[in-house]
């Protein structure tokens, strides 16, 4: 009995070990090294980086490109997270109920998530093409002259958000599953009290899904601040006028293009801080508005 009890935690640790080792080696150690490198002159090529104190931080504070980059990232997150959430939640709620053809539509919504980012980005090079892209043609049907999407700073940013509005399958699935778990009798009780579809959405569905929605918002914030790398690289390469020089793009440029490994490391820490601040603000809002019980 006694040995069995003593052994149980050991067994648990043994099962956890492969994952724990990987987390330590591949995530924790590099992350700590990253913090260390941020205060050196490491280029990524030299063998013995030297400690340079706060030099990188001083550079950071006077870096005009970084300001552009930060601005681009904040614009992106402010637009992409609501758009993606709205799409995932809207489609999830619309398609949660069993109805003819529902499977087909659910598969269609999930499909873009399966497509590799690069392929989707190449597809969007065509979609956003001002000469023969379908988007401008669609606008043309309404008499609109269309945009030079990727050549103009604002529309380039919107173009990237547009592309990222499609791979929303994961959030969609979560909403779908969460909505299906809600008790149908609550809706019947509400219907008996004269609560119509919109009332039910406002008074039942959204409050009951609130924990899931908060989770999705937090997750999408983290994700959105990072996954804009691929579209920006394929569609715009950070241009025009640094409009899509999102933080991950700028980090990549610093580290691998300009051999500024140390400086890039410092910016990753900043990206993490930015992410943390945005999430903190979200959670503060959740508390303020009493979204959760």
């Amino acid at each position: 009995m006694k040995t069995g009890r003593a052994r149980r935690p050991l067994t648990a640790w043994a099962f956890l070990a492969p994952y724990a080792v990987a987390v330590v080696l591949l995530i924790a150690v590099p992350a700590l090294l990253n913090v260390g490198y941020a205060f050196t002159d490491h280029t990524g090529l030299t063998r013995d980086p030297q400690f340079v104190g706060l030099a990188n931080i001083r550079r950071l504070l006077s870096d005009g490109f970084l300001l552009d980059s930060l601005q681009a990232s904040l614009f992106h997150v402010a637009l992409a997270v609501p758009v993606r959430l709205l799409a995932a939640v809207g489609l999830g709620l619309l398609l949660a109920a069993p109805r003819p053809g529902g499977r087909l539509f659910r598969a269609a919504v999930y499909l873009p998530t399966v497509i590799p980012d690069v392929a989707l980005a190449v597809l969007f090079l065509w979609v956003l093409n001002p000469m023969y892209g379908p988007l401008n043609q669609l606008l043309g049907l309404f008499g609109h002259p269309g945009y030079t999407w990727l050549a103009d700073p604002t529309t380039a940013r919107i173009g990237v958000v547009l592309m990222l509005a499609f791979p929303i399958g994961e959030g969609f699935i979560v909403v779908l599953a969460a909505r299906r778990l809600l008790d149908g009798r609550l809706y019947e009780a509400a219907a008996l009290e004269g609560c119509g579809p919109f009332g039910q959405l406002r008074r039942l569905t959204l409050p009951l899904l609130a924990p899931v929605l908060v989770l999705l918002a937090v997750r999408d914030t983290i994700l959105t601040l990072q996954v804009n790398f691929v579209p920006a690289y394929v569609l715009t390469d950070g241009r025009p006028a640094n409009a899509t020089l999102y933080l991950p793009v700028y980090i990549f440029d610093q580290v691998f293009e300009f051999s500024g490994f140390a400086y890039g490391s410092l910016i990753t820490i900043m990206l993490m801080a930015v992410t943390a601040v945005i999430i903190a603000l979200q959670l503060l809002m959740v508390r303020r508005w009493r979204v959760l019980r």
């Binding site: 009798r185 609550l186 009780a189 509400a190 219907a191 009290e193 609560c195 019980r293």
Partner: protein, 337 residues
Amino acid sequence: MSIEHHAIRLESLAKSYGKVTALAGVDLDVREGELLTLVGPSGSGKSTILRLIAGLERPDGGRIVVNGQDVAALPPHRRAVAMVFQDYALYPHLTVRSNLLFGLRVRRVRRGEADQRAQQAAERLGIADLLDRYPDQMSGGQRQRVALARAVLRDPRVYLFDEPMASLDAPLRFATRADLLALHRELGTATIYVTHDQAEAMTLGDRVAVLHGGQVRQVGRPQEVYDRPADTFVAGFLGSPPMNLVPGGGVLAGTAGVTLGVRPEDLALDADGPLEATVEAVEALGSEAIVLTRCADGTRLAVRTGPRPGVRPGDRVRLRPDPSRIHRFEADNGRRR
């Protein structure tokens, strides 16, 4: 009786789900102030009737008349009915107060008035001290009271109860039954109460309707239905243990084409009785005992006796049926003769 005296009248109400017939032409009425219990095995259509009256589903045919008005085309909230669900369907994200106010807010009742009415309903049901709790912070009995208060706030012409005690434990159920009856008397509103528990159906109902296979088999005062079951199904369903039914009459000396029935309490152990049987088992229930016997031709007869009947399995006994309490049913369709 004219239609004005009925709070609810169902006329040849029919409903199928795909190929499954849930209701096959149900005629039923509930009088003003009456409590009608609907009882039947699972799948007999009890809950379907409630859902059709409430407007949660549409009938395939027939009429639903509430207060003299055919409501079949009206949406649920315009039918003047309130429903208490089996698991209460309280909104889990709202406090008791907000649960009670939910309907009033939807109906845009002024805030002051709404608060006052919610408070009154809570006091009436004895839950005024629970108003700030959430449903998951309450016991089953307390939740049930909240559900009742919510129904009372609708101020309906008809209450619909869908097995509201199914999830309460036995002692609580006993107490709640009395509370529910008191509330019903106080409100004086017509009520349909669905249950699969025959004891509940008998004790609560002014009248009881027995359902089977989507049809009403019998409606009447509980004792009347018990004493004169309309067919073999009702005879077998009400009463525990059920009525002894002997196809062809057998040991009860019937004629061909009949099924005879006798309730366990209408059979007595009697040394001079006309029936001979062997005791198979004795179920002592404390205040009474059930003696399970088997006759020579294989017919099984249950006998209700006083406590400590003084017989043991294997004993040979003689039984005397009360001749005035033998029920005769048609052998082919089970109807009472």
